[in-house]
């Protein structure tokens, strides 16, 4: 025995449950991203990242960073391409104690609110390769990274035009 009124009500209830699920999923996904520990967003105009790399892992790290450069430079997103313009990676000439290698990213200017988290950039550009790239990248680290938000100090060194 079916009751037409209840049948219609079930459709409404089903739609409401699906809508709630969608809203909940969207909220949950947003919260998850916000709480993602790997997020690298700078608050200042200039950023510095010190990356401590295991001895012998220089090639792995440098190759990964070149893929990051490729991903940013070829991105369809304007802000991603802007990130590429201001990002340079340097290597400290002499290893640290225990042979650890220090790489220094200087980001100037920082793109406001842009995420500089390497695995996320790789995931957007190379979704089918990201697992392997991530493992290579993560495996290269000796002591993680240090991030610094830098504010310029005016030294009054204005250079006059010739």
């Amino acid at each position: 025995m079916t009751l037409p009124g209840l049948q219609g009500g079930c459709c409404w209830w089903g739609a409401l449950v699906l809508a709630a699920l969608g809203v909940g999923f969207g909220w949950g996904a947003t919260q998850g991203n916000a709480a993602q520990p790997g997020t690298r967003v700078f608050a200042a105009d200039t950023g510095l990242i010190l990356s401590y790399i295991k001895p012998g892992q220089n090639t792995a790290f440098e190759q990964t960073m070149k893929r990051v450069a490729e991903a940013l430079s070829n991105s369809e997103e304007f802000d991603r391409r802007r990130q590429a313009v201001g990002w340079k990676v340097y290597k400290k000439m002499e290893p640290l104690e225990s042979g650890v290698l220090l790489y220094i990213s200087i980001i100037a200017p920082v793109v406001p609110n842009a995420d500089y988290w390497v695995p996320q950039i790789l995931n957007e550009a190379f979704p089918t390769e990201v697992q392997e790239l991530y493992e290579t990248y993560a495996g290269a680290f000796a002591h993680g990274e240090t991030l610094l938000n830098l504010t310029p100090i005016d030294l009054g060194l204005t250079v006059s035009e010739p």
Binding site: T46, K66, Y90, M93, I104, L150, P152, I153, L155
Partner: protein
């Protein structure tokens, strides 16, 4: 006879006196020159070999204004130098303050040298002693004050990085 001897003795006295005064003057000149060299030698040279260099300097939180004042004097001295090498050093000098604190509540300052002037001595006290305020001997008191403010501002844990470019996106 006695008069001749007396004159000769007087002449000798004048020569000896002149020689002593001359020796004293030469001694003072040599001494002051040596003292200047010693003061310069006390501050070890600070040079860099990379294309670019970064110096991370923790500064006591109470002394940040002093540190910035000394670095400003240093930068202005470099930029205004008649020595082309020092002027280039000044042109490539940038100073930043990090939002993130260092150990013991210190404030981290980052000096970026881009490009590095190879062979240039970046030692702050040497540059200030030799050229600040028109150079010695008139800048002694000012340089001493700057040096004192600078050394009191520094906190332990500074490090310098000589860097080569790996990837330019």
């Amino acid at each position: 006879m006695r008069t001749n001897l007396s004159r000769r003795f007087q002449t000798n006295q004048i020569w000896v006196g002149t020689a002593l005064v001359a020796a004293l003057a030469i001694g003072v000149l040599l001494g002051s020159s040596f003292a200047r060299q010693s003061a310069a030698a006390q501050a070890a040279a600070l040079s860099f070999s990379g294309q670019k260099a970064v110096v991370v300097q923790p500064v006591n939180a109470a002394n940040t204004a002093d540190y910035e004042r000394v670095m400003q004097a240093y930068g202005e001295t470099l930029a205004a130098s008649s020595n082309p090498e020092r002027a280039r050093m000044g042109a490539g000098l940038q100073l930043y303050r990090a939002a993130e604190g260092g150990q013991g509540g210190s404030v981290l300052y980052v000096t970026v040298l881009d490009p590095v002037v190879r062979g240039g001595d970046y030692q702050q006290i040497t540059v200030l002693a030799e050229e600040f305020g028109g150079g010695p001997p008139d800048n002694g008191d000012e340089v001493r004050e700057l040096y004192s403010a600078y050394t009191e501002a520094l906190a332990p844990g500074a490090f310098a990085l000589n860097m080569t470019l790996v990837a330019e996106f």
